[in-house]
């Protein structure tokens, strides 16, 4: 039997730390080679880490949400084979706890002078330090499946009065529910047990804490960083989409089967591809630390994508090499791959400008947050028929707003406005997109 120490692997170029997203194993469990041990996340890619050996899991280090440096021993596996010398783990530091000293001081001696020399007690392991006293956390109702903590009298009273103890936040130590808590609950119009008074309006008293880990934490960090460091400049303009919609409907109606359905996004991307060469400061990334702006000739468009786990931004690389159909196909490919969790690391990194669209939920205007280190994000709002004053009368027109944000350190308001006006013209006269 050998002990195999599994170190946090280097999961990507230049990655020095990774976050534990989820354990797939528990101590004591048997694993076979290539069984998935743990999900690790770096940057925006989550990677399943397979077991290099077969054996029994002895110990796990770290909880989901912990960020650990590469090289940390995170799993100890007792392998079936002898002599995994290379990765043989050092013996655990703490030897099995010895029995408590067999001849402790009798309590009867408590009155005696304590200077009587007593036999040196055998080393007794110090119990693990414990919190001096459990913190008085904010009272919260018992979670499902957990038994409410209350004395027999309180339990009986609750049953008699048709009160679900699980719904009462206990104010006592360890969340113990007292008679007073029950009184307060009733006084506050507390909920009766299910079924006993259907239709009654219930007070929702629950609060539910959730540790923000994994992708959600990454999103939180990135967006907070972006909002904190980048002076956002927002600009909203409306675009008349009738001509483009006519074209789009026509193309979709006459497309071949192997061509993707066109949405507004590939047209917007095409407009960006066309316009950006004249606005090179917008298709750029800015490194705060070095103070260097990198301008990109290629258009690597990030497409903000809602996934079951949260917001991700897959990338259409070198969009400038694609026609409208390829743009549409590529947008479809990367967003689907991201939703399915099959996007590659390359497909999730390297964007130079981002497009964000909530589709039918797009609203009238929004203030998108820049996907740092980029300096611009173009947001698409909802397309809807609005009355437009033209030629002395209101006319129904398909209008769509673009809500964009720019890094004001790098992009001047004047340039930002000019870019959006250029995009507006390209979209309103779609033939110019293809000239």
């Amino acid at each position: 039997m050998g002990l195999y120490s599994f170190k946090l692997p280097d999961v990507g170029e230049g990655v020095v730390e990774a976050e534990i997203v989820e354990w797939h194993i528990t101590p004591g469990q048997n694993v076979k080679e290539d069984d998935v041990l743990v999900d690790l996340m770096t940057d925006k890619a989550t990677v399943e880490i397979p077991s290099p050996v077969s054996g029994v899991i002895k110990e796990l280090t770290g909880d989901p949400g912990d960020v650990l440096p590469v090289g940390t021993v995170i799993i100890t596996i007792e392998t079936d084979s002898v002599g995994e010398t290379e990765e043989e783990a050092p013996k655990p530091e703490s030897a099995p706890a010895p029995e408590p000293a067999s001849a402790p001081e009798p309590a009867a001696a408590k009155a005696e002078a304590s200077n009587t020399p007593v036999e040196e007690p055998k080393p007794v392991p110090k119990p693990a330090p414990v919190a001096p006293s459990a913190k008085a956390a904010a009272p919260k109702p018992t979670n499902d499946g957990e038994r409410p903590l209350a004395s027999p009298a309180v339990r009986k009273r609750a049953l008699e009065q048709d009160i679900d103890l699980g719904a009462i936040p206990g104010s006592g130590p360890a969340g113990r529910i007292s008679h007073q808590d029950v009184d307060d609950f009733i006084a506050a119009g507390g909920r009766l047990m299910a079924g006993s008074n259907p239709g009654a309006r219930e007070k929702r008293t629950g609060t539910h804490e959730q540790k923000i880990i994994g992708l959600r934490r990454k999103i939180a960090q990135n967006l907070a960083h972006s909002k904190r460091t980048i002076p956002h400049f927002a600009y909203v303009e409306e675009v008349e989409m009738d001509a483009l919609e006519q074209l789009r409907v026509h193309l979709n109606a006459n497309k071949s089967d192997d061509q993707p359905k066109l949405t507004v996004l590939p047209f917007l991307l095409a407009a960006l591809i066309k316009a950006l060469p004249d606005f090179e400061q917008v298709n750029a990334t800015y490194d705060d630390d070095t103070g260097i702006v990198t301008r990109h000739d290629g258009v690597h468009a990030g497409i903000a994508t809602a996934t079951p786990n949260g917001l991700m931004v897959p990338v259409v690389h070198h969009a400038e090499t694609m026609d409208i159909w390829e743009c549409a196909a590529q947008i479809k490919h990367v967003t689907e791959a991201t939703r399915n969790g099959t996007a590659t690391r390359d497909e999730l990194t390297g964007s130079t400008i981002t497009i964000t669209s909530l589709g039918a939920l797009g609203g009238i205007a929004s203030t998108p947050v820049i996907n740092a280190p980029e300096v611009a994000i173009i947001g698409v709002n909802k397309l809807q028929v609005r009355p437009v004053w033209r030629d002395g009368a209101f006319q129904p027109r398909k209008m769509m707003n673009l809500s964009s944000s720019f890094d004001h350190r790098i992009v001047d308001g004047y340039d930002a406005a000019r870019l959006i006006q250029r995009i507006k013209q390209l979209l309103e006269y779609p033939a110019t997109l293809f000239m």
Binding site: S102, P104, E105, A107, V130, R155, P173, R176
Partner: protein, 472 residues
């Protein structure tokens, strides 16, 4: 039952007057219900007649005898004594007298509460109707609105060691011996076998255990059974683990030892204590259309069976087969029948073994708590460090109190103790769990000095990392 019998109607019919049935009858009558209790074999059931109480009486007498014998052999505490003589017949008579007093007391309580007691055997025709054959041979039919089944349990018999052989005895037989056997083989080292086997060893019988499992008292962890194993060893009691009893031989009991080899123990009597089974036959259960759960009657958390208006309590409904569980269920059902809202939801059902030394278990052991997903801290206090235990000569047996608590909020999840007289601590232990005590509550409660209870407070302090009377 040939002739027409008279028919009586009642609100509540209770079958069985043991520690589940009779409290149910008392409470139901107190609450104004019309109650008939049918019992055969003595009010108080197994508990009073041939279980808890008589065994404790014999255990007490045996301990007294052993103490005197010890003083006779080696004077201690300045006390010397002559060699004690045992009159087994007189001991049994004393015990019987005690039993009679207590069972008579139960009858008095039932009567005072207003419950009707019938000495007879009930047999159900359907779920709400039964025929009772009374002690005098008369029969009567009872139609009940509500039925509470509390028929209890009996000893499990081994087919190759039948109780009808005079040399083979059950726990009931062991408590009725008129002559002390010189040698005894005990099949089964669970709590019943150990309690009685140890008592006989104290009285001077050469006792040997044959246990099929690889340990004694499998419900408790090894740390807790170690002091008992030690007592058995020092008192010349043989324990054959991983061994199977085979058959009665001319001079004793043959068994297959742990290596599969045939062996034999000298045994004047063979006590078979391999467990108990619910009494489900002979009273018409099959006519009641009630769902079963294995060998037991299936009930919900109100002890209601699958048949409306029929309840079952006590040993009949499953483990743990303990008198106090049945009593709690009996009281509860009576209140439910009186229209109260009740549910059987104890945090724990404490358990005690009157072995030498005694064992108490309340709530979860550390292993059980971990298996339930808890992260725990434990604190252990040895009675060797407690003045009162030493003053009662109780500290040397390796006993201790161990408390198991949840690490995050210090909620006490389990309390286990082993040591002389610790059974009496079970009430405080159970109260701590029911009240949702934390370690700080236990440590912050002043415990009388000098008592064994101090050990409980000290164990809580030890779990908090601050024991006063053991070195850290």
């Amino acid at each position: 039952m040939g002739k027409a019998t008279k028919t009586t109607k009642t609100n509540v019919l209770i079958i069985g007057g043991g520690p589940a049935g009779y409290p149910c009858a008392i409470r139901a009558a107190q609450l104004g219900l019309d109650v008939i209790l049918v019992d055969k074999g003595g009010l108080g059931g197994t508990c009073l007649n041939r279980g808890c109480i008589p065994s404790k009486a014999v255990i007490h007498a045996a301990s007294r005898f052993e103490e005197i014998a010890a003083h006779a052999e080696t004077p201690a505490m300045g006390i010397s004594a002559g060699k004690p003589k045992l009159d087994m017949k007189a001991l049994t008579a004393w015990k019987d007298n005690l039993v009679t007093k207590l069972t008579g007391g139960v009858g008095g309580l039932l009567k005072a509460a207003g419950a009707n007691v019938l000495d007879g055997w009930a047999e159900f025709i359907d779920a709400k109707t039964c025929t009772v054959t009374l002690a005098d041979g008369e029969t009567m039919t009872i139609e009940a609105q509500n039925v509470v089944l509390a028929t209890g349990s009996v000893e499990v018999e081994l087919p190759f060691l039948p109780f009808d052989d005079p040399r083979i005895i059950s726990s009931t037989g062991a408590l009725a011996l008129e002559k002390l056997p010189k040698t005894m083989a005990v099949v089964g080292a669970g709590y019943i076998g150990l309690e009685l086997g140890i008592a006989f060893a104290k009285l001077g019988t050469k006792v040997s255990f044959v246990e099929a499992l690889d340990r004694i008292l499998p419900l408790y962890d090894k740390a807790m059974t170690r002091p008992i194993t030690r007592w058995l060893k020092t008192h010349n009691v043989d324990v054959h683990l991983s061994s199977k009893a085979k058959a009665l031989t001319k001079s004793g009991l043959s068994y297959e030892d742990k290596d599969g080899k045939e062996a034999e123990i000298a045994a004047e009597k063979v006590l078979v204590a391999v467990g108990r089974k619910p009494v489900t036959q002979g009273w018409g259960l099959e006519n009641m259309a009630i769902d079963m759960s294995g060998p037991f009657v299936k009930v919900d958390d109100q002890c209601a069976t699958s048949m409306r208006g029929v309840y079952a309590i006590g040993d009949l409904v499953g483990e743990p087969m303990l008198a106090h569980k049945g009593t709690a269920q009996g009281e509860m059902v009576a209140e439910i029948l009186a229209g109260h809202r009740r549910r059987f939801d104890p945090v724990s059902i404490p358990a005690v073994c009157f072995t030498e030394p005694e064992i108490v278990g309340v709530g979860l052991t550390p292993d059980e708590a971990k298996a339930a997903g808890e992260t725990v801290i434990t604190g252990k206090f040895p009675f060797a460090a407690l003045g009162k235990a030493l003053a009662m000569q109780g500290g040397a047996d390796g006993g201790f109190v161990r408390v198991t608590a949840r690490q995050s909020d210090h909620l006490v999840l389990g309390i286990h103790a082993v040591g002389a007289h610790v059974a009496e601590l079970s009430g405080e232990f159970a109260l701590a769990l029911e009240m949702g005590a934390r370690l700080e509550d236990i440590a912050g409660t002043i415990h009388v000095h000098p008592t064994l209870g101090e050990g409980f407070a000290e164990s809580a302090l030890a779990a908090l990392g601050q024991p006063l009377h053991i070195a850290q």
